[in-house]
Symmetry: C2
Subunit: 150 residues, 2 copies
């Protein structure tokens, strides 16, 4: 039995745990130096004086961590054909050093492509949750997946 | 005269060039190994066999490159207080090795915060454009900025 996931294997309403990602001061600063070098993400002293009261992760770091967990978990072993985009990406709570955040995906909708018989479309909600059970990041993604060969 | 940008300095309708980012095979693979290790982003041979016909950048790499240009350009010298989220993030065309993509931001709307007198809200459209003039990535962002002190 193959463990490869085709479009037909996504079922609306199902939720999958994707594992966890640990944020440290070192990874928060390293990501932000490359991609989002604002003081609250790269400078501990400036971050203390900010409204956040200390270092927080770039929202793009949290989103990248979600993507990494999605692709590297068993759920990621799918015939992925790319994505046209994301809606309603929300950073709801600050992410701080020491946070170990589990991610989960919920399948919202699946439909066959009308123009491309080789693929189907999956709309999903992705979330990362903190130790208090609060959702810190959520997004709605659209992805294309290959259809199961006959 | 201060070059710091406060909420009052954003004006609806204005567009600013943010500089360019160069995508190479090396940076495409390096980003994707960390955050989005799908075959079309990390494996040249697998990418050739994919519907894209060759290596393409992770959409999250393109988005991170936009954020980097936004923060490191002169436009980024602002009293940024974070962002609640992004809407309508779209990856419209593949980004490939050798692409040198300029970014631009257009201010869509500004309004004072009703709950926090120290800040205002700016809604903007961010875009990256390829050599043919096609928009390859666009998003709508909401950001908080500090108000100019009296």
């Amino acid at each position: 039995m193959s463990s490869i996931r085709y479009w037909e294997d996504f079922r609306p309403g199902e939720t999958h745990a994707l594992g966890s990602y640990e944020f440290t001061a070192e990874t928060i600063v390293a990501f932000a130096r490359d991609w989002d070098p604002q003081p609250m993400h790269v400078d501990l002293e400036a971050a203390k004086r900010s409204p956040y009261g200390g270092l927080i992760a770039s929202g793009w770091h949290t989103t990248a961590a979600y993507m990494r967990l999605l692709v590297t978990s068993t759920f990621g072993n799918a015939v992925s054909l790319g994505s046209p985009g994301i809606d309603q990406l929300r950073w709801l709570k600050p992410v701080r050093p020491g946070d170990v955040l589990p991610a989960r995906i919920t399948v919202l909708e699946t439909r066959a492509s009308e123009s491309r018989p080789d693929r189907g479309i999956v709309r999903s909600r992705g979330e990362m949750v903190n130790q208090a059970g609060d959702v810190v990041m959520q997004l709605e993604a659209v992805n294309f997946f290959g259809r199961r060969p006959d």
